[in-house]
Symmetry: C2
Subunit: 199 residues, 2 copies
Amino acid sequence: MAAETSKGTATQQNILAGAHQLFTERGYHGTSMRMIAQQAGIALGGIYNHFPNKESLFLAVLLAHHPYYALLPVLQASQGETLEEYIRDAAIRMVSDPQDRFEFTKLLFIELVEFRGQHLPQLFQMVFPDVLEKVGRYAQDHRARLRPIPTVSLIRAFIGLFFSYTITDMLIARQLPAEMKDNAVDHMIDIYLHGILKE
Amino acid sequence: MAAETSKGTATQQNILAGAHQLFTERGYHGTSMRMIAQQAGIALGGIYNHFPNKESLFLAVLLAHHPYYALLPVLQASQGETLEEYIRDAAIRMVSDPQDRFEFTKLLFIELVEFRGQHLPQLFQMVFPDVLEKVGRYAQDHRARLRPIPTVSLIRAFIGLFFSYTITDMLIARQLPAEMKDNAVDHMIDIYLHGILKE
DNA sequence: CCTACCGATCGGTAGG
DNA sequence: CCTACCGATCGGTAGG
């Protein structure tokens, strides 16, 4: 018998993957446990060997797709000689994969609407204090280049850049002629950068 | 018998108001027609005298709360001698009412997740071409003050400012100490303005 | 991990 | 606009 990984059994992974896909496609209440079972290739009752109920399955999906796992490597891999180049590179990486952006955003929407944000404090406490401290130190090192904006607002605007681009993408991108979308990412990053940098 | 207004009968308004509240609180599939009937003070069957089914009721709610109705007076009432003052005033008005922002945003989330954005083209076509043309003319008149950014990106970033502020508000505002939230709106508008203006 | 089942609730309708 | 009902489907479980 193969040793189980820390990620759980293959069946558990199938359930999580099927649930993730269905939740993001149809919402929480729009997805039934029977659909998830079928997607995972098992019978309905089988799910309950791995998760006690539907909500705990959603929470497991949410935690498995915590933006921290996607964002940390992005920020660490980002390069750039100057502050400006570093931020631009990080922003481009952050918005580079459309499918990832849409999936994460929809999962968050479900949490905000169908769970009234109940699970957010848990997600928030996992990473925000750490991020705040690191960005704060980084901003302090580069304060000569930055306009006088509190660290929290720098972070909010950077996170906001993600949603700004992703949601307007969802709202209008499919409906705009292609030439109007060219370089839209670059322009929006550009606005953010000129907004926070001196000179 | 009193004449019916163009907004529909009182009962129809009660149904719309109850549906709006419940949808934004619990999502589409998380809200039952029975809950809506109770909220509107009538029996389940009574709803079907006004709306043929649940989805058409949701669509009616969505159209009744089209951001166009909220946004147009905001933009027309905005004041300011200079371009900068006008945009700042409009932005402040746009984000001034937290309840309006949350309700509209949640309704949009429901549409994006539970209806896969099916109804968006309809909403979009109602206003975007008009907005694009007006902002384009306005930007042309003030091009000496604006950095060279396509009109579409100016609009996307301005709409994005709304979501940037509102979603980070939903995500972190409830969990931050008060002094970290002070003037957050002003800073985010400030970043946008410095991002699009010359000098 | 599956089969077969539970009570509850769903959207919608007939008839008045 | 209400009462009483329809078939379908829901989350969850007992028992193997």
